[in-house]
């Protein structure tokens, strides 16, 4: 102890202060995804779209194709398209709505915010998936009304590969695009280019040129993921290799570049 009893006023005593726990950062980020009209209504809209598509399917499909599994894969397919947009919004609002100024002054260690956002994004995806699964149950019941006699059993591979894994990939695609573009409108456009235009272009090219359809699953991520939610929902060894290759190109590398950018960008 020095002779001065009280701490010198020139010094800030930080010994008693804990870091903001990661769990708290994740909880705050989860809240931030839902506490704006845009975020909340976007999720409501996605779930409404799931219901709409399920109802149309229940009315239009053959009675023999109205199993729970059919409804579940439809719900997973709709979510897969739109869930990444919520993530894009969650990430890009820090720059587009400029609240990054506050976010990154309250936690200047940016990597901790990145982890918090990842955890929040995954948690959000799980919540939405559970709600979508419940909607699939209700839709199957509705299917009975329309004349179906559904099978309730679910192929574990569909549940894991076609529903959970493909949606989680989507969530991280959202993160990668969001962090790379760092602009809400631009990020959503980029996502649609990635998810609609790219596979369509690959499809056209495959039609036009022999041999391209063999190359496509090695260079285009959407094409490579098709085995996850079609057929027996179990990709073959080669198909897993295609997912890994394209996943590196379209997910891992952009994600790394995105994180790198987020850690360095000057939030204005």
């Amino acid at each position: 102890m020095s002779t001065t009893a009280a701490p010198a006023p020139m010094q800030l005593d930080i010994s008693g202060t804990q870091h903001v726990p990661t769990s708290r950062l994740a909880r705050v980020e989860f809240r931030k995804a839902l506490d704006t009209r845009a975020g909340r209504w976007f999720i409501v809209a996605i779930l409404a779209l799931v219901i709409l598509v399920e109802v149309i399917y229940a009315l239009a499909a053959n009675d023999s194709d109205k199993d729970f599994q059919d409804f579940l894969s439809i719900a997973g397919f709709v979510l897969g398209y739109f869930l990444p947009i919520i993530i894009v919004m969650l990430v890009t609002s820090e720059a587009s709505q400029r609240n990054g100024l506050v976010t990154f002054t309250l936690e200047p260690k940016r990597s901790r915010i990145v982890v918090g956002k990842f955890l929040a994004g995954v948690a959000l995806a799980i919540v939405v998936m559970v709600v979508a699964a419940v909607l699939a149950v209700l839709s199957t019941l509705f299917g009975i009304v329309t004349g179906g006699s559904p099978e309730w059993s679910v192929d574990g591979n569909l549940l894991f590969n076609g529903f959970v894994l493909s949606n989680l990939i989507g969530v991280f695609i959202g993160f990668a695009i969001g962090m790379l573009i760092m602009n809400t409108a631009g990020g959503i456009v980029a996502y649609f280019v990635y998810s609609f235009i790219l596979p369509t272009a690959v499809g056209i090219l495959s039609e036009l040129s022999d041999g391209f359809e063999k190359v496509a699953p090695w260079i285009e991520f959407n094409t490579a993921q098709t085995p996850l939610f079609s057929g027996d929902y179990v990709p073959s060894g080669e198909e897993w290799a295609q997912i890994a290759t394209t996943g590196t190109i379209w997910l891992i590398i952009p994600l790394m570049l995105g994180i790198w950018r987020l850690l360095r960008i000057e939030f204005k």
């Binding site: 809240r31 506490d35 400029r98 609240n99 506050v102 309250l106 936690e107």
Partner: protein
């Protein structure tokens, strides 16, 4: 306290902040004054770790901001009151801050009371706030974690005169309890009203610093404005002493210091109703010090293939 040491920040060829050093003491309100684009915001952004310095450093109470755990509990920051999601309500913005810092919800109500935002206003979304309301909310946000240091960029911007008076009281009280306040402004009269000490910056460089009296002590007064009950008599008396006199408004403009005018009036028993210095004052000092640093030409940005007009937003 805040200690800025040899801080430099360059953007390409453009130096936004050039070897700036100063200290903000606890128990005082330090005003950071300069024209638009002088480097105030950049300096403050470096303080809170949003912008990395090109050279030099800033410590807050002996620590780099980046090393302070849960910094909201130690340093209150308001850089831009509009930099919040426009779709969130005022209350929600404070709630997010309070949750991040690990504070109870009751703290949000206390802060809303402190800045006089009522229940209905707190429920409105930020996009429907006036600039003054945003500033109040931003100050509430900065004070949430009961910090001992406040860093506020243009906090009085958009406040009405009553609001400025309110903030002066708030910050004075805060400093009197031992807090450190660093606030910036491009408006002299705001800082003059609120700050104990001033740091004048122009074109990234500090041009003067000190208390108001210290800053003014160096200036010489050679012009006076005076009004007497009998202006004619005073004109004669002053002219007799050899001072140049010209009518100005309801009074006279005299080419000497107020003390000389007063002496003449006393000798001749002329009643004065108004006597003051016509030159000097902080306004003049501020303008003269920053004169050569006013931006009349757009700064050269980062090297680019084609020249661009004006600075980027």
């Amino acid at each position: 306290m805040i200690k800025v040491e040899g801080l430099t920040r360059r953007y390409g060829n453009f130096t936004a902040v050039d070897d700036v050093s100063f200290v903000c003491q606890p128990g005082r309100v330090t005003g950071f004054l300069g024209p638009n684009g002088a480097g105030k915001t950049t300096t403050m952004r470096v303080m809170v770790g949003l912008t990395p310095p090109s050279a030099g450093r800033v410590t807050i109470g002996g620590h780099l901001y980046h090393d302070i755990p849960n910094p909201g509990r130690h340093v209150g920051v308001l850089l831009d009151a509009s930099a919040q999601h426009a779709g969130r309500t005022g209350r929600e913005i404070l709630t997010i801050g309070a949750q991040t810092m690990g504070l109870p919800e009751s703290r949000v109500d206390e802060m809303l009371d402190l800045v006089s935002l009522d229940k209905t206003e707190a429920k409105r979304r930020l996009r429907n706030y006036s600039l003054g309301m945003k500033q109040r909310l931003g100050i509430a946000h900065a004070l949430l974690g009961d910090p001992s240091v406040l860093i506020l960029d243009e906090p009085a911007n958009g406040l009405d005169p009553a609001g400025i008076r309110w903030m002066r009281g708030l910050l004075k009280g805060y400093a009197d309890r031992g807090g450190t306040v660093c606030l910036s402004s491009h408006l002299l009269h705001e800082v003059e009203q609120i700050a104990d000490e001033m740091i004048l910056i122009g074109r990234g460089k500090i041009v003067a610093s000190g208390t108001k009296d210290e800053l003014l002590s160096g200036t010489e007064h050679k012009l006076s404005l005076v009004t007497a009950l009998d202006n004619e008599l005073l004109t004669k008396a002053l002219t007799a002493k050899g001072f140049g006199v010209t009518p100005a408004g309801t009074g006279l403009r005299v080419e000497t210091a107020p003390v000389e005018v007063g002496r003449v009036a006393a000798e001749q028993s002329i009643v004065l109703t108004d006597l003051r210095s016509a030159d000097g004052g902080l306004e003049e000092l501020f303008l003269s010090l920053t004169e050569d640093s006013q931006r009349d030409v757009a700064p050269q940005g980062a090297p680019a293939p084609a020249p661009t007009e004006g600075p980027q937003a």
